[in-house]
Symmetry: C2
Amino acid sequence: MTTGTKGERTRETILDEALQLATVVGLEGLTIGTLASRLGLSKSGLYAHFKSKDALQLAILEHGANHFIATVVHPSLAQGDPVAALRTLFTAWLEWSGQTMAGGCLFVTAIVEYDDRPGAVRDLLVEFHRRWIDFIAGAAKRAVSSGPFRADLDAAQFAHDFQSILLGFNQARRLLRDPDAETRARRAFARLLADAASR
Amino acid sequence: MTTGTKGERTRETILDEALQLATVVGLEGLTIGTLASRLGLSKSGLYAHFKSKDALQLAILEHGANHFIATVVHPSLAQGDPVAALRTLFTAWLEWSGQTMAGGCLFVTAIVEYDDRPGAVRDLLVEFHRRWIDFIAGAAKRAVSSGPFRADLDAAQFAHDFQSILLGFNQARRLLRDPDAETRARRAFARLLADAASR
DNA sequence: GACAAGCACGAACGTTCGTGCTATTTGATT
DNA sequence: AATCAAATAGCACGAACGTTCGTGCTTGTC
């Protein structure tokens, strides 16, 4: 056993499995019955850990965010140099979407699923996404201040372009199973960095 | 009445509505009952037009592809100059995803939903997507041959980057409702064109 | 050793899902 | 106007959905 009370531990186990499952079938497609039988739990036993399916979905997102921060954000924070931080961030995200998550990035999936459905899930996704974009833009701004990026760089535009490359990778990799997806993404990223560099 | 027999016409009406609905709730989330009541049809009456839900989903995709070709591809074909064709393609796609479809591009939605679920739907999406990417790459190659693009341009990479920009736009626009999404996308596209230009 | 709290179970709830059958209505052809 | 096929509705089905409830085990506290 790892930590916490029994209930907290099984709750964690549930969320681990739910996280992987959700990346494949989506937050809506994920059904309590299937999840329960995957874990060898009863539907009601599992359900008791969350008061509703809505709450379960939100818990999955929070759980995913924790994983995301640990796998993608933290390694970047360890880098002092902002450009190195951006490079680390980029590579870590490719790893996250390509290997860590069974069906690609949870948030890419969830965002497409809920971008047109008002509610708590959507609101949480918006908040997460804002923070993520701001995090990228923040690193870009630091790279401007410290010199490697040109002074007139639009950090928000940089973050937007950064994100676009990730989305392109995710699509090529997951739909086409394109083995060149990573190479393509890296080239696009190199071009983005080159354009941002001061001359 | 437009054309064809009665059945063919209502089938078309069904698909028009289903197309819009699917962009919001997804191909899986779209349910026969809801679709029927939206159209004032009975579930079984609607169902008779398609032999299964799977067939309905495929029909929606085909229907969507027809719309896509008419709205996005055709205007581009009218352009003689390949760079102009690419510009038209780009603008038309923004229009397609931003205005024409209620919940954003059908294919972006469907791809995320089915990229990890083997079957006929996924296969069709792969085929469509291959054709789409090849279409972009083809225009890029023509732009190389005719001069405006540099000779050593990687057309496949160009198409990949093109597509990434569209995905970034779609996300910013639909999740964040970002009013700057189009401006951002256009700037990214301008940068892509500049990089591809011969010097 | 008694007792409360936490945790998981099985059964059942009302609803909706996709999918078939059987009528009945509608539209086209003579 | 009559006929026949095509198109739609009505009805029912088994399964699965999220959710609730009562009931036992297990665990830890006095």
